[in-house]
């Protein structure tokens, strides 16, 4: 059973744990500084009216990410 998916694919209320960041350079570091590293638990708390960006709960803060960026974060689904 493969529970790996992209962060973008999370639906509202879904929780997942970060498996890998496939971004490079500045944006990688920026997300890491927000606390998004391997092992971090994230929750999708909602999408904007047009579906993109989406908001994620990361270590107690709500951060909005565009699909281009959240596509580059692989996560493992947890219930």
């Amino acid at each position: 059973m493969n529970n790996i998916l992209r962060l973008t694919q999370l639906k509202e209320g879904d929780r997942a744990v970060v498996v890998e960041l496939t971004l490079s350079n500045a944006m990688r570091r920026r997300l890491q500084d927000m606390g998004l590293i391997k092992g971090t638990v994230v929750e999708c708390v909602g999408k904007s009216p047009l579906g993109d960006p989406a908001a994620f709960l990361i270590r107690g803060a709500v951060i909005a990410l565009r699909s281009e960026d959240s596509d580059m974060v692989l996560v493992e689904y947890i219930n």
Partner: protein, 714 residues
Amino acid sequence: MGMTRMSMDEKSVDTEFVVEKKNPSDKVIALAGNPNVGKSTVFNQLTGLNQHTGNWPGKTVVNAQGYCSFGGQRYVLVDIPGCYSLITRSGDEEIARDFICFGNSDAVIVVCDATCLERNFNLVLQVLEITPKVLVCVNLLDEAAKKNIELDLPKLSAKIGVPVVGTTAKNKKCLNQVFTGLVSVFNSLKDSPPLVVSYPSYVEEAIAILTPEVEAICGDAVNTRWVCARLLDDNESLVKAISNYVGCDIAKNKKIAFLLEEIKEKLAAKNSSFEQMKDDMVASFINKAEEICSDVVYFGDAAYAKKDRKLDKIFTSKLTGFPIMLALLLAIFWITITGANYPSDLISKGLFWLEEPFLDFFVMVGAPKFFYEPLVLGVYRVLAWVVSVMLPPMAIFFPLFTLLEDFGYLPRVAFNLDKHFKNSCACGKQALTMCMGFGCNAAGVIGCRIIDSPRERLIAIITNNFVPCNGRFPTLIALISMFFIGAATGLFSSFLSAFFLTLLIVLGIFATFLFSRILSKTILKGETSSFVLELPPYRKPQMGKVIVRSIFDRTLFVLKRAMLVAAPAGLIIWLMANITVGDMTVLAHCAGFLDPFASLFGLDGVILLAFILGFPANEIVVPIIIMAYMAQGNILGINDLDVLKQLFVDNGWTWVTAINVMLFSLMHWPCSTTCLTIKKETKSLKWTAIAFIVPTIAGLILCFIFTNFAHLFI
């Protein structure tokens, strides 16, 4: 230290910022922290100053300084822009980084948000890596208490080895603690040494390899361990800034390059890489923050943010997100228009009633006509118009807008509109700078520093003028009421005015999208860049404070600026209207010259001249038009909108003219202050010129199309 900041890269520092000590013994304190943790509020409380505050990340984009003293020691407090990390990308964060790293401050206060301590601690740990002179100020304790979050601050302090104080910045009592905390920072009263995050052993070995060489170059100018770690981080911009600071290009030093190469080979031999090492280094900080906070923060209620999520659902859902945005805009305008109506009328009547006594007074004391006529009929009249028409809407709009800002609604606007900005290849944070433009376009342009990518920042700067500032929408309101509401009265009419105004604003926002897109397909080609936006918790706005602050700080400030410009403009326009060359006044000559061109766009020479003369401030466009028309006729008492309308109609206005004036007011060159700000922000005449031309062309095209379209039917 013996180092100066003279050699600093111009781009990497806020070159205009100099810490001004009033006394050599003053201690310089940097106030750092994540965006939107209440730094500016703490700063204001400590210094008694009035830095503008708001509930959205990026409110402070430039350093501000203030003074305070405690126990005989004077402090210079520097409020720096919020940042998540010292490894940064955007301009405002670079300012913060450079001040913390190289600002030679005597101590750093890191302000944290008690409701989100873990995320905040990454920065605390990073600052501790540079300097042990740190005071951690855990702010917003009241918000945390409301959410049932408890914090054990003494334990936290013991863990990190520096003083920790808790504050609720809204309550002044806690602030003495900040000073006591500072005193103990300087006296090093703590038993345990300040915490420095340790890296995995292989990273520590690499640091040890670099240390002797870095020490030889930097001496004690900067923290050696920190520089070594940054070399391993391979952070180009920061290494460059360090190099400038110590006056030697570290990255180009042959020995260091050799050592770094050696480290790289060692890593490769172990199947690792620099990239992996970087990840491990970041993770050290994040994990340490998690470890510390899990021990000192207790969540009494797992669903502590339930209320925020509920509100988010209302403000950002598919169904209600946009309707609520429009409704709020409409409501704000409606309250502004309705509320401003009566006081505006009263002030106007009062000020124009005073005109005659003034004239009588000058006649009585025997003042010469060439002295008092320009003074009263020129300067005074324009001032009276500006005060009566501008003051009431501003005094209502600013507080209302500030309430929304304090509440935390603006980031949600950015969240909702981001997709449109993305389609225009622009940044979603442009929505925030757009909102600032409502207050003042110059402020909006400065605010564009929150946008990381230079390309997207330029787009935001160039298109900021499509949102009408406070100097413009009273003009719009006046024209709407004159030409489109007319007979309708009462509740319905003010609602209709608000509706028309909202339509115009939406048009402006649409133009922002369109021109952002055109710019990114033409002269500012490029890929859409990444975008990270924090949606902060909602906070209850402090009503009383908001009202007092926005009236005294913003309204009066903007009004003062408008009046300073209006007075000389009033004089010039009176002179133009009264000095005759040949058989016509100078004004008539100018207007006549512009007339053929202006009529192409459904305007007339006087209107275009008024916009040109209104370059210093948009507030004076309508009074110039009035005065120019009055110089040709002889109408007294312009305090009545109906009389004014008659004046305009007598001078050939139709509803088409009125719409054209509104469109042109919405889209024409930015005012002089904004242009100067654009020049300062972009450091380029070319982009300033483009920011001048783009909205002007947009306005002219729109007026041209509308005029010709309307004439098909008339």
